[in-house]
């Protein structure tokens, strides 16, 4: 069974600053994917970034990048130049290859961006 742990329930950052959200996971599978989703008050889960476990290079999407440490089973999200619109709940998730490919989520972390 997979587990995903987000140990920080809340964080805050000043606008234009950088913040890092942490996530650890556990899986016995060798082939899996990791995701960060953002959930604003509208409730809709929005994909921020994804990382294939077989890729050594860390994924980057504009202001969002990850630090993927496979041996440590760590998958942190870095948000650069934080914007007010980044304020939301952030969920880390893991999905294994094959089968139903269901997502297993962490408990989430609330990010506040201060102007």
């Amino acid at each position: 069974a997979q587990t995903v742990t987000q140990s920080q329930p809340e964080m805050s950052v000043q606008e234009a600053e950088t913040v890092t959200l942490s996530c650890t996971y556990d899986t016995s599978e060798s082939d899996y994917y990791l995701f960060w989703y953002k959930q604003p008050p509208s409730r809709q889960m929005i994909l921020v970034i994804r990382q294939e476990a077989y890729k050594q290079q860390n994924a980057t999407e504009n202001r969002f990048s990850v630090n993927f440490q496979k041996a440590a089973k760590s998958f942190s999200l870095k948000i650069s130049d934080s914007q007010l619109g980044d304020a939301a709940m952030y969920f880390c998730a893991c999905r294994t290859q094959g089968g139903s490919e269901k997502l297993v989520f962490g408990k989430g972390m609330k990010l506040t961006v201060n102007p």
Binding site: E52, S100, L103, F105, G106
Partner: protein
């Protein structure tokens, strides 16, 4: 194109009643997922459809929960004899067939059982 839609947006019901929650996936997406998100938690998997068939229903908590997708598009999650513990946001997601595809989520239905 249109995203995943879910109706109703909010549903209030009384303990013991029957409810149906609807999900309209993105056109052409053959995979459909239901998740349940309790307050302060991340979403938890309920059931997965590939086409019309439920390929994995291991997340359904008990036999009061049932889901269908008769024509391989719209899906309905049905909850019988609702209990207060069923109160949660029910999220639907869809993806194109095949591995490695991103799941796109709808806005969810917030169910409150009084």
């Amino acid at each position: 194109g249109a995203g995943v839609s879910q109706t109703p947006s909010n549903k209030v019901t009384e303990k013991g009643k029957y409810v149906e929650l609807r999900c309209d996936p993105i056109s052409g997406h053959t995979a459909l997922y239901w998740y349940r998100q309790s307050l302060g938690q991340g979403p938890e998997f309920l059931i997965y459809f590939q086409g019309t068939g439920a390929a994995d229903d291991s997340g359904l908590p008990n036999d009061r929960f049932f889901a269908v997708r008769p024509e391989g598009s719209v899906s309905t999650l049905k909850i019988q004899r609702t209990e207060r513990g069923d109160s949660a946001v029910y999220l639907c997601a869809s993806s194109r067939m095949g591995l490695q595809e991103t799941q796109y989520f709808g806005p969810g239905t917030r169910l409150l059982v009084l």
